[in-house]
Symmetry: C2
Subunit: 168 residues, 2 copies
Amino acid sequence: MKNDATPKTPPQAIVGFGKHDHAQCKTHGLSRAEAVCAAAKVQLTPVRRRVLEILLEAHEALGAYDVLARLAKEGLGSKPPVAYRALGFLVDNGLAHRIEKLNAYVACAHPGEAHDAAFMICRACGAVAEAEPRGMMKRTAVEVGFQIESLVIEAEGLCPDCVPKASL
Amino acid sequence: MKNDATPKTPPQAIVGFGKHDHAQCKTHGLSRAEAVCAAAKVQLTPVRRRVLEILLEAHEALGAYDVLARLAKEGLGSKPPVAYRALGFLVDNGLAHRIEKLNAYVACAHPGEAHDAAFMICRACGAVAEAEPRGMMKRTAVEVGFQIESLVIEAEGLCPDCVPKASL
DNA sequence: ATTTGGTATGTTATAACATAACAATATGAA
DNA sequence: TTCATATTGTTATGTTATAACATACCAAAT
């Protein structure tokens, strides 16, 4: 069943930069989240579920206060910790990622257990695409004896849609 | 403050995790900075020079307000913009890097023109080692047509000194 | 049925990080 | 000198984040 009555104007990808069926990636994301939470024996509560929906609906990375503003409009919480805790939960459970360069959050493209990710962030339109971080740093780390616990790889630049329009 | 759990005893590396001649890396960093600024026809003013010294002297990444506090003690400026401008100048000219995960700054290990870098950040002692970001994301980006302008690669974990002491 | 323990949420207050906007001053070139 | 530009100083505010504590809820143990 699909409830497509939510056309949020420009279709900017979370997974990639191309167009995609947004309603589908939202429903898919939610059902994956249900499964992940059930498997991990953690609760996808109304607030957490709604925050994930908000991220899935958004066409770009959202700041904690952006999320909070949306929650507040729906009476789901109005104070920073509410948003930060829900976002923290989603990140901890591999359902969302924090983009350090933007102090913002996006729904994970491959929900499952917590994992590293690499992002390509378009400075022009704000689109964020998730990529697989391959080896790279891992080798360097092993060489020097550094034990990687988490890895942030963030590229900023222009997405395929924006390259042609680039002024600078 | 942030990293007060840091044992101030051992000299922790900026370039790597091993010991090193700290006085030397400081004087070397400063002379490289002179050359870089001369070549780029930009001014290494007293404030900027002192901020670079502060970073070179520090044994860990410093927040802008940490830097500011040191400047203030010396009468070189006491308001946030002073520190942020100097740090911005150093980053823009490849003399320092911003560590997104920490909202903090370190002197660059290979001063020269602006360049990407990868960091290994020890969550236990705050030591930060700079590594060379090799290929990796670049290929993924080319494949999808993303034009990388800047890249952040940040690993967090335990440095070689802290692995043995690891409790968790 | 009550207590207890765990998880989640609500709230206050504040810490920590960052920049816009404008004034004052210094520096260098015409 | 005079103008233009770069830098610094300052005020005010904006933005992001968390500590600390209170309350609500549910489920298992007594």
